[in-house]
Symmetry: C2
Subunit: 237 residues, 2 copies
DNA sequence: ATTACTATGTTTCGAGTAA
DNA sequence: TTTACTCGAAACATAGTAA
């Protein structure tokens, strides 16, 4: 898909679309350069050049006569249009509502500090940052936010495996990269076992979020899923 | 559709597609300018500028942080993608086989000369050129060519009305603009009444085609329908 | 009418670099 | 590491004009 498009060809591809709109994908069409230029909002000269470039690329056939240029889109050119259409279709079909939720800040049981310290090494390795020892607890603000939370939990995550440390077994967890208030990068961590209900999200970040964002209990903040292609591969150290 | 695209925005629209392929239409996505530049095959600087321009156009939201730029496609930007997709869908769905046929040159009853002279004025007015007094007769080369001929005859045509001239009534006819051998502009004329069968096409042009193309009986040539938006309105004089 | 060449103006790109 | 500024270079657009 991406390989199908040299960047230099962007303008040309749009000219090709305009030609197709004139019917050049079905048959020879008369396209005087002056008129084609006005369609492209370019000069007669540029339209002429563009038709020649399209021919050079093999996207159109071109016959110049005294009354003007006749052009037809080739199979190669038509395939470009099909390719672009398919790329767009794939994008549009994959559209889902943005995955974000708003949560109400509350004070939890205070275990965050302890657990984050136990998991610190593996979290740092998996996440690429050293987590502040403590989680920010959020309760879904509305029923929609609860649904968003469930939707997030259904997605593939950064897996934190269970392991043994300090003589005790530590459960597994799953992490999702998020942006907090559009400004601070962090992860939402979903422990295998938790004291909280499914309407609660726990957020980890490199810094203390309450301080960084000036938060107090009852504040409502936005947490939004982010994607980094390298989420799973990034294991530096 | 066309109004939806300022020409200056072509490159930007493609950048938007690339962003969508990264998932930016669903959620915030991390797009460091260096990496985005390599996706677009542009420099880090240009990628940075393009992200700022996309934001200016209102097609994306953009949050710059220490680790890079986070971006998300806005509803406005998404609508551009939908618009482009719809334009392409309309084009692709309207695709039909090119309307062309190959015909075998033969010598007819020799009435062409006489009839073209009778119709000369009205033909010149309707077609925009002064027809050579004589038609080139073509017999469909294969059954596919016959089908193509029938398909052409089913399309809307340039109508030559019946009229009275030199004391006799002249039948109506219908004309289709064609390109002969990709080089010569002419029309295929379908008289209301004819001595020929439905496998025969009669071609008119400004010049004598046998001479211009060096044709003799038995030669096979290509005749292809062409479209000129102004076909029906062009009645100069 | 056309197309398209040449010369010139304008925009876009990216290396260097600051923050 | 980032983003993004400056400014010289490259690419692109068009007016004038020939054919």
């Amino acid at each position: 898909m991406a390989e199908a498009l040299e960047r230099d060809d962007y303008g040309l591809l749009f000219a090709l679309i305009r030609l197709a709109e004139l019917g050049a994908h079905k048959s020879l069409v008369k396209v005087p350069t002056e008129k084609f230029g006005s369609i492209l909002r370019l000069s007669q000269q540029s339209a002429s050049r563009i038709l020649r470039l399209l021919e050079q690329r093999g996207w159109i056939e071109r016959f110049v006569s005294r009354e003007g240029t006749y052009a037809r889109i080739t199979n190669g050119g038509f395939e470009r249009l099909i390719g672009l259409h398919r790329d767009l279709a794939r994008i549009l079909e994959s559209r889902i509502e943005p995955i974000a939720f708003r949560g109400i800040v509350f004070t939890g049981f205070g275990e965050g500090n302890y657990y984050v310290k136990l998991y610190r090494r593996v979290l740092r390795d998996k996440l690429g940052f050293d987590p502040y020892p403590g989680t920010l607890n959020l309760r879904a603000a509305t029923i929609e936010d609860l649904k968003a939370l469930e939707r997030i939990r259904s997605l593939p995550a950064i897996e934190i495996p269970s392991f043994k440390g300090r003589g005790r077994s530590l459960g597994s967890a799953r992490c999702y990269r998020v942006a907090v208030e559009h400004r601070v990068r962090g992860v939402m961590i979903v422990p295998e076992r938790t004291h909280y209900g499914r309407d609660v999200a726990e957020i980890l970040a490199a810094e203390r979020l309450r301080e960084k964002l000036g938060l107090k209990d009852g504040d409502i903040i936005t947490v939004e899923l982010t994607f980094e292609e390298d989420s799973l591969s990034k294991a530096k150290g």
